[in-house]
Structures are given as C-alpha cells and as structure tokens.
Amino acid sequence: MSMRKQTPSDFLKQIIGRPVVVKLNSGVDYRGVLACLDGYMNIAIEQTEEYVNGQLKNKYGDAFLRGNNVLYISTQKRKV
C-alpha cells in the first residue's frame, strides 16, 4: 500500500479489515483486526490482544475502544 496524497479519513477507510495496532493515551496497546471505526475514532477490533509495558495482559474476542482515548491507529505487517 503506497502512501499517496490522501486525507486521514481515506486512510481510515482503507485499513478496515487489516491487522492494526491501536495505542491509547495511557500507553496501553491493542492489537487485532480492525472491524470498523467512526469519525470520533471509536474503534471496533476483533481478536484483540492487550499489551501493557510490552507484555500481553488480556485477550478479547471483540473490543470497542472509545475514541477520545486513542493516540494512534497503525497497520502492522502480520508476522507468519
């Protein structure tokens, strides 16, 4: 996926269905498959893993993250 000139909302539409890393303002990391999101950056993730200080702490089948806590959403290359 090459980055051409695109708005943030174009990026958000593009990454649905991909594995992502969502970092919260608190520093907690969530990794999983992006199911959907909205303009407030509320996020729904599937097969979520929660990492605190780099350590896996929890797993959730589905998770909803409230957008105000989100620092960033990033794609991750799936390691085989």
Partner: protein
Amino acid sequence: SQPSTNTVEEPLDLIRLSLDERIYVKMRNDRELRGRLHAYDQHLNMILGDVEETVTTVEIDEETYEELYKSTKRNIPMLFVRGDGVVLVAPPLRVG
C-alpha cells in the same frame, strides 16, 4: 453516512448487539465493571444492572520497591456510567 442495515456498521452498532448481555467495561482510574447492559448512548453513557466493580491499586514498598497489587470489589444493583470515563467495552471472555 447514516447507519442502515446495508451499509458498513459503525462501532456503536456493534455495542447495540450487546444490549441485555453481560459486558466487561474498562474505565479510567484502574476501574473495571462487569454487568448487564440495559442502555447506552453515543457518549458511551450506560445503564448497567447487577454490576461488580473492581478497583485496582498498586502500592510500592519504599525499601524493596516491590509492587503490591490490591483489588477491591463491590456490587451495585443498578448503575449509571458516565461515558467520558469509559476506555473499552467487550463481551465477557468466552471459553474456546
């Protein structure tokens, strides 16, 4: 775009699927709730019934720097949760 049954769902639509189900809520200030979701809105204000709240604290021993985790639980029959404290909402962990 307005949500309808044909378009891609938004995250809040998926919370709607949890109505009347027991859910897990992670809040700010190291609090967690487990209860039955009776109502919610776009702010994530929620009405939860039959709730168990867990508050987790860490004490650090000044000499050994050991971290001592404590959690305090209490039960609340019916609770209004203000949405701005909500971090994460999930169905309770299922086995398998």
